[in-house]
């Protein structure tokens, strides 16, 4: 088999909300070049799927007989350059009216059927992945096919797929089979998302907290091996949606829609304050989490006036009396091109100048966000263009409306427990996640690694993009689990010149296989080079755990018990400096990221994706190592030959 090349590697990282994909590994690794919303629409034919919602529209048009091409087609051509929003008629049926034909006259009536893709609609969409689980296999496969077709890789393209932790062994086999049979891939690698995050951070040992849309995964990775036992898989009701739900619960009575809450969550005025921080405006004793109901009602009393009206309303007056509404940012080029451009632009300009005023509360302008009782964010929405301009060529067009909405302290309460929490007794999602982290790390059999795991937390996933999430999570862990110094002062970890005994009862004469990080039995596929490069442990001298221990003198220097309690500290890891593109933690308020209207066709990579996508960075690194550098030495991928020999179940030998 010829060697794989950088530019041929296809990476796909499916998520419940967004599927990241990229063909080729760039010189320096960047955030994913393509993002596809993880959804498909049922096509007309049963069992087939379309990437966009397709509208069917019939229209009667009178055209001149002597013109060769019907006029609407010309307009179509105009609209096509604007394919950024996918407004494309795919088919035109011409039905000729026989009667008018007889006249010999120059006009005839034509009924046309337009099929147009509506990129902003998610009506009727099927989401094949829910909480990481693949719930609709045909749809999921159709999505993979769509991605594959869009990127259209050359034939000799190895594929790396980032697997969700929740996928069962059978799921993985099914995907393997699909990739080999359908894409005819020469090589396929299925990598666990938690492990990919570790590759991204360049660490062999870490606790990965992946905050997704509807779920959270907590994984302890030791020496590049995922600890399956005690792993927190797809904790439901802990992801980004749970935070939005809470906002809807708090703000819904004030007229906020879910889309508003979603954008509020993404805006930079929303922040999770560490537990115990007093909310601005409320009395210092009211604490977040402790008394959410009271805090919420504080906001409620003065928030009535600022309650937004329904979307599309256009004008909105805040309590300070600023006319904060603007209408700008013409999205749809087609609207200008096919409509009456000059008139349209002039209108927009006029509206802008008349309405634009200072939108900032002068009093609170200097305070940090967390001290301000009220703040406003810019709400963007797409409103369908109405009137004759829109009807001119029939294609749906959207215009982006922006307006400021003011919110009170509710914006700090998004992780507080929901009042209708149903069947949970915990106080909010942060506590759930913290408890799971504790459980997961405690379940790691190699107790000497636990302290390191606590000190190397990796928080990824778009749900963690909310400002203050990481700090608040660390604060919750600290106040619930960190051991007091008095309890641990005697037990500082053993001096480093002693070898680390395995956790408990390891001092037996049993012969051991070669221990040490290089040959971790649970991770046959780990690339030893990578381990060696990233491992800073001195490495256990061979045979140490098997040293004869019947000798009572052993007692003299092994520590009096197996190990000491953890955690004495908790820290997050820093992303390596050398990938500047991943540095900035995006806090974009781009509506495109929300579930409602993704205007960008795949290919429009929106800015502001940072460290929460370290998984994708890790995938690129791993792909580089497995496919290009090692060329299969590290058993990082399964080749077509092996698939033909052993079938899909052999993927388990290569799963990372």
């Amino acid at each position: 088999m010829p060697p794989f090349k950088d530019e041929h590697v296809l990476l796909i990282a499916p998520g419940s909300q967004m599927t990241l994909a990229q063909l080729g590994l760039p010189e320096t690794f960047t955030p994913a070049r393509f993002r596809f919303p993880t959804r498909m629409f049922p096509a007309e034919k049963k069992g087939e799927y379309e990437p966009y919602r397709v509208h069917e529209r019939r229209q009667e048009v009178k055209v001149n007989n002597d013109t060769d091409a019907p006029k609407p087609d010309v307009e179509m051509k105009d609209a096509e350059p604007a394919a950024a929003d996918g407004t494309t008629a795919t088919e035109t049926t011409v039905k000729t009216d026989e009667n008018t034909q007889d006249n010999g006259d120059s006009t005839k009536t034509v009924e046309e059927v337009f099929y147009e893709e509506d990129p902003a609609s998610d009506e009727g969409a099927i989401y094949p992945i829910e909480n990481g689980r693949i719930v609709d296999w045909p749809c999921f496969f159709a999505l993979l096919t769509h991605i594959h077709n869009t990127l259209s890789p050359p034939f000799h393209t190895p594929i790396m797929l980032i697997g969700q932790p929740v996928w069962s062994a059978r799921d993985r086999e099914a995907i393997t089979q699909f990739v080999f049979e359908k894409f005819k891939a020469p090589a396929f690698s299925l990598m666990d998302s938690a492990l990919a995050a570790c590759y991204g951070y360049g660490t062999p040992t870490a606790t990965v907290v992946d905050v997704g849309k509807g779920k959270v995964d907590v994984t302890a990775v030791t020496d590049f091996a995922v600890n399956e036992h005690g792993r927190g898989i797809a904790l439901e009701g802990c992801g980004g949606d749970a935070m939005t739900d809470r906002l809807v619960e708090l703000l819904g009575p004030k007229g906020f829609t879910r889309e508003m809450c979603e954008q509020l969550k993404r805006s930079n005025i929303t922040e999770i304050l560490p537990p115990g921080t007093p909310l601005p405006g409320s009395s210092a004793t009211a604490r977040q989490g402790a008394n959410p109901a009271a805090a919420a009602s504080t906001g409620g009393s003065d928030g009535d006036e600022s309650a937004p009206r329904g979307p599309g309303d256009g004008t909105q007056t805040g309590i300070e009396g600023d006319n904060g509404d603007e209408e700008e940012g013409v999205l749809d080029v087609a609207a200008i091109v096919s409509g009456n451009p000059t008139e349209y632009l002039a209108n927009v300009e006029k509206e802008k100048t008349t309405t634009k005023k200072g939108a900032v509360d002068p009093k609170g302008a200097r305070l940090p966000n967390s001290k301000k009782e009220k703040a406003s964010f810019q709400f963007e929405e797409f409103v369908q263009l109405e009137g004759e301009k829109a009807a001119a060529n029939g294609a749906r067009q959207y215009i982006r409306h922006t307006r400021d909405i003011e919110v009170s302290v509710e914006r700090f309460l998004l992780t507080s427990p929901r009042s209708k929490a149903g069947n949970r007794l915990t106080s909010g999602i942060l506590e759930d996640i913290a408890t799971q982290v504790h459980h997961t790390i405690l379940a790691v059999p190699d107790a000497t690694k636990r302290s390191e795991l606590w000190d190397s937390l990796i928080i990824v996933g778009c749900g963690s993009k909310v400002k203050g999430f990481t700090q608040a999570l660390l604060a919750v862990i600290t106040q619930k689990f960190i051991l007091s110094p008095s309890g641990t002062i005697f037990t500082s970890e053993i001096p480093s010149n002693f070898t680390t005994p395995l956790p408990t009862g390891a001092n037996t004469p049993a012969p051991m296989g070669q221990p040490g990080p290089m040959y971790h039995p649970a991770a046959p596929g780990v690339n030893p080079l990578l381990v060696a490069a990233t491992h800073n442990n001195p490495g256990m001298p061979g045979g140490m755990p098997g040293t004869p221990s019947m000798d009572p003198s052993m007692m003299s220097h092994h520590r009096s018990t197996g190990h000491s309690q953890t955690p004495t500290s908790v820290k997050t890891l820093k992303l390596p400096e050398y990938f500047p593109d991943f540095k900035d933690q995006g806090n974009s308020n781009a509506p495109g990221a929300s579930s409602g209207g993704t205007p960008g066709a795949p290919g429009t990579s929106q800015g502001g994706h940072g460290m929460e996508e370290a998984v994708f960075l890790g995938a690129q690194m791993a792909a580089k190592v497995f496919f290009v550098i090692d060329q299969g030495l590290s058993k990082g991928y399964m080749s077509r030959v092996e698939y033909n020999e052993s079938g899909p179940s052999a993927i388990h030998e290569y799963i990372l």
Binding site: P138, T435, P445, Q479, P485, G505, N507, S564, Q565
Partner: protein, 471 residues
């Protein structure tokens, strides 16, 4: 063979269908594919039950440790002696253990859904089209059982596997035998300390010697009850364990000072059941066992005077203590007490009396040395030296610090003549999952294929076939 290289598929006898190995225990249930080195799925055998929206809901898996729910109560389908009591729930728990991570829930076959109907010619592989929705219809199943499992329970097990799960082939193996296999021995004396039981099983040529099987309830839970007794008698104040879910935040206190934590309160109708609290206390206790508890290394008992004339207990007092912090922030250094918690596994007289404990004070016959003695007394004299030279230690509670040293001393004192050799894997997971690993090895052997009880045979002979085939 280098353990870091998984065996090639060809060594499995070219078999592509991987069997599932299910090792149900009292505290955890292990499941995974044969041929792998650790079970992929490890779930607590405990399950939770609560009412929500007027419906009874069940919680399986690790979630019971993480999320407290209103009125949650904890149950275990397996009785204290390791024999299944509640078959319906045992079936559900076991099913969860392999559907959650291995086979997937009953999602149906992904290949018979719409996508592949569109272009069947593009998928040349042969897929069995099955309408069955039973979870194991394409995987053979190897299950383990304790050596004292009654015939009724064995028949019930194969019935569930064949009829409820629709497995094409089944085998039931003794966990002791499998633990010996995991250590690479066909003949061994297996000492297995689990959560609820302590058992000694003599194995000869891969066959269990039934008359020599001994077991007693001195397992991990018994040790926990001893630790609780220590906590109760603790000075300066008795220690109560408050699990994490009842604490909203704690603050650092000096060793031995009363805890200063903010507690959570739940309304009476929402508070989880006492059994939930007991489960989470058990979790703190297992952390305590890992970090603090230690077996007196011997060679003589803790109560006996040592060679120098100073009593061993005084010796133990001079060793530095081990600190432990409880979830509410209370912390203390534990001195000689940490040796006393497990001493009664070897010396019944050393048991800490606790009238409230659900465990009666142990009798001398229940201790490890006596069980070994009784077990050997039940086997042929000629086999005894061979068994003593192949003592295999397995089970999670055997990971207690210093356990194997002490066991070695005890056995050497008891049997001074023959050569005693204790084998215990140093790797934590090999010790905890000894019988699962043995099952994984067994089910992946090519020669094992003739041992499976096929569905056809089951239909022909009925559940009683398990008595004939799985000796």
């Amino acid at each position: 063979m280098n353990p870091s290289n998984p065996p090639q598929a060809a060594e499995y006898g070219g078999d592509e269908v991987s069997a599932i190995v299910l090792d149900p225990g009292y505290s955890t249930t292990r499941a995974g594919f044969a041929g792998e080195d650790a079970p992929k799925s490890l779930i607590p055998t405990y399950y939770g039950k609560y009412n929500a929206d007027g419906q009874e809901k069940l919680v399986f898996g690790d979630d019971v440790f993480v999320t407290p729910r209103p009125g949650l109560s904890i149950h275990n389908p397996i009785g204290k002696d390791g024999i299944v009591e509640d078959w319906d729930m045992a079936e559900r728990v076991w099913e969860h253990s392999f559907t959650s991570r291995l086979t997937g829930t009953k999602a149906g076959n992904p290949f018979q859904n719409g996508l592949n109907d569109v272009s069947p010619d593009e998928l040349p592989t042969e897929m069995e089209v099955e309408s069955e929705e039973k979870p194991l219809s394409d995987s053979p199943l190897l299950m383990t059982e304790p050596g004292w499992n009654p015939a009724k329970a064995r028949e019930k097990t194969i019935e569930i596997a064949m009829e409820k799960w629709d497995t094409p082939a089944f085998y039931l193996a003794r966990s002791g035998v499998l633990a010996a296999f995991a250590s690479g021995k066909a003949s061994a004396l297996v000492i297995d300390i689990g959560a609820s039981n302590l058992s000694v099983t003599p194995i000869h040529d891969g066959m269990i010697l039934k008359r020599g099987v001994q077991h007693s309830p001195l397992g991990g839970e018994y040790i926990s009850s001893q630790i609780r007794a220590i906590f109760k008698a603790n000075t300066p104040q008795p220690i109560t364990i408050t699990p994490h879910y009842l604490i909203s935040s704690k603050s650092a206190v000096e060793a031995g000072q009363p805890a200063q934590a903010k507690y959570k309160t739940f309304p009476a109708d929402k508070a989880p059941d006492a059994s939930y609290r007991a489960l989470l206390e058990e979790r703190t206790l297992s952390e305590f066992k890992e970090c603090v508890v230690q077996v007196w290394p011997g060679p003589t008992r803790l109560s006996a005077p040592s060679a120098t004339g100073v009593s061993n207990e005084d010796m133990a007092r001079t060793t530095p203590g081990r600190p432990f912090e409880f979830p509410d922030g209370y912390n203390q250094v534990f001195g000689v007490d940490r040796f006393r918690a497990v001493e009664s596994l070897f010396d019944a007289k050393a048991a800490i009396p606790d009238p409230d404990s659900s465990f009666p004070p142990p009798t001398p016959a229940q201790t490890i040395p006596e069980l070994v003695k009784a077990s050997l007394a039940g086997v042929d004299v000629d086999l005894r030296p061979h068994l003593l030279a192949n003592v295999v230690v397995t089970g999670g509670s055997s990971l207690l610090y210093g356990f194997t040293d002490r066991l070695n001393h005890e056995l050497m004192q008891m049997f001074p003549g023959p050569r005693v050799r204790v084998t215990a894997p140093g790797n934590t997971s090999e010790r905890r999952f000894g019988s699962w690993i043995g099952g994984s090895i067994l089910a992946s052997l090519g020669t094992f294929h003739q041992m499976w009880i096929s569905k056809k045979e089951y239909e022909e002979h009925g559940p009683n076939i398990v008595e004939k085939r799985c000796k």
